[in-house]
C-alpha cells in the first residue's frame, strides 16, 4: 500500500493564514470591549452572566479536547492518531482561560461596590453574600440556614483555592501530553507512547474530578439551594460533544485549505461522526435521567430549578434543547451517509456547537430575582447580543492562543508508532 503524502501537514497553520492568531486576539478583544460598552445598557448582571456563559462554553471545548487526548492514550487507539495533534493544540488554551476566569473570581472575592458589581455578583452567586447567608437579625434578612450549612464548601477562599487547583491540573495535563507528543516528533521513541499511556489513567481520574467540581462550582452553585448528583456528568457530556463537533469543523477547515488532505480520510470523519453521535445520545440520556427523576420525585427543593426553566420565558429554550440538542442531530447523524459525507457532518457539527451554547445559556441565565420581586428574570434581545459578544470574545482569545500554540510543531504526530495504522484505517 502506498503511504499517504503528509509532507504538507508539516507546515504550520501560521503559514496557512499568517497573522491568524493576532486577528483572533484582536477580534476577541473588540468583542469583549463591545460587550463591556453594551453593559451600560444591559446592566452589569447581564454582562457577568453572559461572560460566564461564554467562559463555560469555551472551557467545555478545551476540556473536551483534553478528554479526547487522555482517552486516545488510555485505549492505545490507533485510528485517531492523525487527528490527535489537533486535539492536543486545543488543550493549549487553559492558560488564557485561567486569565479569563479572573474577572469572575475578582468580582467574587473583592465584591467591589462600583458599577453595581457587588449587587450583580450577589444575585448571580447568592452564596457570596454575607447578608443572604448569615443575615443581620432583621426580618428582611433572616439569613439562610441551608447556605450556612454549605458555607464550608461554598466560601470564596475555598472557591479560589479550588479554581487554582483545577487550572493547575489542566495546565499540567495539557502541557505533559503535548510536550511528550512533540518530543516524539523528534525522537520517534515508542517509550514515549507507553509513558503517555501510563500517565493517562491517573490523568483521567484528575480530569473527572476537576470537571465535575468546576461544573458544581461555576454552574450548579448559581442556584445554591439546588443539587443534582449527576450534574458533573451532564457538563461532561456536553463538553465531549462540543469538542467532537469542533474537531469535525477543524478537520474540514484544514482540509479545505489544503492541509492533511491525504492524512485525513473519510474514515476519520466517519469515526468522529460516530463519536459525536454517541455523545448526542449520551447527553440526552443524562439530561433525561436528571429531568425525569426530578420531575417524578416532585420535591420542591429540586423542582424549583426546573420550574424556572419551564416558565413561559424559558420553556421555548428547554424545547429548543430537546429538539435542537437531541432529536434533530440524532436524526441527522443516525445514517452513515452524512457521517461519511463531510458537508453533512460539518453542518451538523456547527449546529451542535450553537446548541451547546444554548445549553450553557440555559444553565446560566434562568433565575429568580433574589434581591427584587422574586419574579423570574426576563430574557431579551439585549441579553442575546451580550452573550454573542462575550462568547465570541472569549472564544476568539482562546482560539488565538490555540493557533499560536500550533506553531510549535506539525499538524500530526509524525513519528507516532501508530501513525501508519491510523493512515491506513478503514471502517467496515
Amino acid at each position: 500500500m502506498k503511504a499517504p503524502d503528509i509532507s504538507a501537514d508539516r507546515l504550520h497553520i501560521r503559514d496557512l493564514a499568517p497573522g491568524l492568531s493576532n486577528l483572533l486576539w484582536l477580534g476577541g478583544l473588540v468583542a469583549l470591549v463591545a460587550g463591556l460598552l453594551l453593559a451600560t445598557a444591559s446592566g452589569t448582571e447581564t454582562f457577568l452572566r453572559a461572560y460566564l456563559t461564554g467562559f463555560m462554553f469555551t472551557l467545555s471545548l478545551a476540556l473536551g479536547a483534553l478528554f479526547f487526548v487522555l482517552l486516545q492514550h488510555a485505549t492505545r487507539a490507533g485510528w485517531s492518531v492523525v487527528v490527535r495533534r489537533i486535539a492536543e493544540y486545543f488543550t493549549c488554551g487553559f492558560g488564557i482561560l485561567a486569565v479569563l476566569s479572573l474577572p469572575i473570581i475578582i468580582a467574587m472575592v473583592l465584591q467591589p461596590d462600583i458599577l453595581g458589581i457587588r449587587a450583580a455578583i450577589h444575585d448571580i452567586f447568592p452564596w457570596t453574600s454575607e447578608l443572604i447567608v448569615w443575615g443581620d437579625n432583621t426580618a428582611a434578612h433572616p439569613g439562610d440556614e441551608i447556605l450556612q450549612g454549605k458555607s464550608g464548601f461554598l466560601s470564596t477562599p475555598f472557591f479560589v483555592l479550588r479554581m487554582v487547583a483545577y487550572f493547575g491540573i489542566w495546565l499540567w495535563l495539557s502541557h505533559f501530553f503535548l510536550s511528550r507528543s512533540l518530543q516524539q516528533d523528534q525522537s520517534g521513541d515508542p517509550q514515549l507512547s507507553l509513558q503517555m499511556q501510563t500517565r493517562s489513567y491517573p490523568g483521567m481520574i484528575l480530569f473527572a474530578l476537576s470537571l465535575s467540581f468546576v461544573a458544581i462550582d461555576l454552574l450548579m452553585s448559581l442556584d445554591p439551594h439546588w443539587f443534582s448528583t449527576i450534574f458533573g456528568v451532564y457538563y461532561f457530556g456536553g463538553s465531549a460533544l462540543g469538542f467532537f463537533s469542533l474537531l469535525a469543523v477543524t478537520m474540514f477547515w484544514l482540509q479545505s485549505n489544503g492541509r492533511m488532505s491525504q492524512a485525513i480520510t473519510v474514515e476519520h470523519y466517519h469515526d468522529v461522526g460516530k463519536l459525536a453521535f454517541a455523545f448526542i445520545v449520551f447527553w440526552a440520556y443524562i439530561a433525561f435521567s436528571q429531568y425525569m427523576l426530578i420531575w417524578y420525585g416532585n420535591l420542591p427543593e429540586e423542582t424549583a430549578w426546573l420550574t424556572v426553566r419551564q416558565s413561559p420565558t424559558w420553556a421555548p429554550v428547554s424545547l429548543l434543547l430537546l429538539f435542537g440538542h437531541f432529536v434533530i442531530p440524532f436524526l441527522a447523524l443516525i445514517s452513515r451517509v452524512p457521517k461519511r459525507g463531510r458537508y453533512g457532518l460539518v453542518a451538523a457539527a456547527l449546529w451542535i456547537l450553537v446548541m451547546h451554547l444554548c445549553d450553557m445559556i440555559w444553565l446560566v441565565f434562568p433565575h429568580v430575582n433574589h434581591g427584587g420581586d422574586h419574579a423570574i428574570a426576563s430574557f431579551g434581545v439585549l441579553d442575546v447580543i451580550q452573550i454573542v459578544l462575550c462568547t465570541l470574545g472569549i472564544l476568539g482569545l482562546y482560539l488565538g492562543r490555540v493557533v499560536r500554540a500550533s506553531a510549535q510543531g506539525s499538524l500530526l504526530p509524525e513519528r507516532d508508532p501508530r501513525l501508519p495504522e491510523s493512515l491506513a484505517f478503514h471502517n467496515f
Partner: protein, 470 residues
C-alpha cells in the same frame, strides 16, 4: 494442533505493533478443533470436575425450585420482608443478577462498536452468561408479586375487566426493559451462534447433525449472507448499546423515582450501569479463569484478555467509587437532614458492616489492579473477581435495606433479618445459573469460532501463502 504449555505473555505491546490475540501456533482448522473438541468428545471424557460441579448445580437448582414451591404454597410471609423493609432479598437478588447480565451484551455490543477485537474470545460465553443471569433475575420479581398465578396482569392484555397496567410505574418499565433485554440478548446470542452451529453440523453425523443443522438454518457462509449478517450484527450491537444502558437505568428508576432518602438521587442511572458492568465483568472472569484452564483454552483466552478485563474492572470500580463519593458529597451539600442522616447511618449505623464490605470489595480491592503484576496474576485476579461479586451484592443490600429499615417514621424502624428460605432461594439461583452454564459449555461452542478466525493474522485478505499445512 499446537498448544502452548503454560502462560504465554502477550500483555506487553510495543506501540505500533499490535500484540497477537491468539497465541500458540494456530491455524483455522486447529482453532475449530480446539473449540469443538469440548462439544464433540464423548461424555465420559468430560473432566471429573465438570460432573462434580454439574451435580452440585443440579442439586442447588432443586433447592431453588423447592423453595419457590414452598413460597407459592405458603405465601410471601416466609421471607424476611416485613414493615418497614418491604423489599428484601428478592429485589437485591434481582438487581444483582440483572447487573451480572450486563457484561455479556456490553462485550458483544459496546466493545464491538469500539472495535475491541479481543472481545471475540470471550463474547460467546459472556453472552450465554447474560442470558442465564437474566433468567435468574426474572425469577425474583416474578415470585415476589404475591399472587403469581395472575402475574400476566403486568402485561397489557385485553381482558373483560378492562384492566390495564399502570404505565407511570417504574416497576412496569422493568417488565418491559428486562423482557426486551432478554429477547434482544437471546437474538444477539443466537445470531452469533448460527455460523458456529453450522460448523458443528458439518463436523457431526446422525442425530447431532440433524439437531445442530436445525438451528444452523442451512448456513453456507455465502458472501451475500455474510454481508447482511454483518450488517445485522452491527445493527444489533448499535441497538444493544443503548439498551444495555437503559435496562439498568430503568432498574435504578425503581429506586430513584421515589422520595426515600438514599434512593432519590439523579446519578443513580449511570451509577447503576457502571456497577452492573463492573459486576458482570467480575462474573465473566470468575467463569473464564477456570474454564480456560479446564478445557485448555489458554491460547484463545489469553493473558491479554484477562488483563483487559481487569482494566475494565478497575475503570468501572473507580466509576462506582466516584458515584459513592458524589452521593456522599451531595447528601451533605444538599443539606437535607434525612439525606444526611441516611448516609451517615450507612457508614456508621447498624448496617455499617455491610457498607464497609461493599466499599472494600468494590472500591479498595479493585484498585490493586493498578499494578500490572496483579493484573496479570491469574490467582489474584480470580480472588478479586470473587470479591467484586460479593461487593456488588452487598451494594444492592446496602441500598435496599439501609434506606428502608430507617425510613421517615422512626417508631417503625427495625433491623432486617433474612430467613433461611431467603438464603436457600438465593443460593439456589446460583444452582440454576451454573446448571445452565455447564450445559452450555458442553453442548454449544463456548468461543465464537468464526469471529476468532476473523481476527487471526491469516484472515487478512492479502495473506496468500497457504498456512494450513501444520
Amino acid at each position: 494442533m499446537a498448544v502452548t504449555v503454560g502462560e504465554y505473555d502477550n500483555t506487553f505491546e510495543t506501540p505500533g505493533k499490535r500484540a497477537p490475540l491468539v497465541v500458540g501456533d494456530h491455524d483455522f482448522a486447529s482453532v475449530t478443533e480446539a473449540v469443538c473438541n469440548v462439544n464433540e468428545r464423548p461424555m465420559r471424557e468430560m473432566p471429573l470436575i465438570w460432573y462434580v460441579l454439574f451435580g452440585i448445580a443440579v442439586a442447588l437448582t432443586g433447592v431453588l425450585f423447592g423453595s419457590i414451591g414452598y413460597l407459592f404454597l405458603t405465601g410471601v410471609g416466609v421471607w424476611g420482608v416485613k414493615n418497614p423493609a418491604g423489599w428484601g432479598f428478592a429485589i437485591i437478588n434481582f438487581v444483582f443478577w440483572v447487573g451480572i447480565g450486563h457484561a455479556g451484551t456490553l462485550i458483544s455490543a459496546i466493545l464491538f462498536l469500539f472495535r475491541q477485537t479481543w472481545r471475540t474470545a470471550i463474547n460467546r460465553f459472556a453472552e450465554a452468561m447474560t442470558i442465564f443471569a437474566v433468567i435468574c433475575a426474572l425469577i425474583f420479581p416474578g415470585i415476589h408479586v404475591g399472587r403469581v398465578w395472575v402475574v400476566y396482569w403486568m402485561l397489557p392484555l385485553p381482558n373483560q375487566m378492562a384492566m390495564w397496567p399502570q404505565f407511570r410505574s417504574p416497576l412496569l418499565w422493568d417488565v418491559f426493559a428486562v423482557n426486551t433485554y432478554f429477547t434482544v440478548s437471546l437474538l444477539f446470542w443466537y445470531v452469533g451462534l448460527i455460523p458456529d452451529l453450522a460448523t458443528l453440523r458439518d463436523r457431526a453425523s446422525g442425530f447431532r447433525k440433524w439437531a445442530y443443522g436445525l438451528f444452523a438454518l442451512g448456513w453456507t457462509g455465502a458472501a451475500r449472507h455474510w454481508h447482511r449478517y454483518e450488517r445485522a450484527y452491527l445493527i444489533l450491537a448499535a441497538l444493544s448499546t443503548p439498551l444495555v444502558l437503559s435496562v439498568h437505568s430503568v432498574v435504578s428508576f425503581d429506586f430513584a423515582v421515589s422520595q426515600v432518602p438514599g434512593w432519590h438521587t439523579t446519578i443513580f442511572p449511570p451509577y447503576f450501569v457502571a456497577g452492573a458492568i463492573f459486576s458482570g465483568f467480575a462474573m465473566v472472569l470468575t467463569l473464564a479463569i477456570p474454564t480456560r484452564a479446564l478445557f485448555n483454552m489458554k491460547d484463545i483466552i489469553t493473558l491479554r484478555h484477562i488483563e483487559n478485563m481487569n482494566k475494565i474492572i478497575l475503570l468501572t470500580g473507580t466509576l462506582v467509587g466516584y458515584a459513592y463519593a458524589m452521593e456522599f458529597f451531595i447528601a451533605w451539600y444538599g443539606q437535607n437532614p434525612n439525606e444526611k442522616f441516611i448516609f451517615i447511618a450507612r457508614a456508621f449505623g447498624p448496617y455499617a458492616w455491610a457498607y464497609w464490605t461493599m466499599i472494600s470489595c468494590n472500591v479498595i480491592f479493585p484498585q490493586l489492579f493498578w499494578f500490572k503484576a496483579i493484573r496479570t496474576n491469574i490467582a489474584i485476579t480470580f480472588v478479586i473477581s470473587l470479591l467484586v461479586n460479593v461487593g456488588m451484592w452487598f451494594e444492592r443490600y446496602v441500598i435496599v435495606i439501609t434506606s428502608l429499615s430507617q425510613d421517615f417514621l422512626p417508631s417503625s424502624w427495625d433491623y432486617y433479618w433474612p430467613t433461611t428460605l431467603d438464603w436457600l432461594t438465593f443460593i439456589g439461583s446460583f444452582g440454576l445459573f451454573f446448571t445452565l452454564f455447564l450445559l452450555f459449555i458442553r453442548f454449544l461452542p463456548m468461543i465464537a469460532i468464526a469471529e476468532i478466525k476473523g481476527v487471526m493474522p491469516q484472515a487478512r485478505a492479502g495473506h496468500d501463502q497457504a498456512d494450513g499445512g501444520h
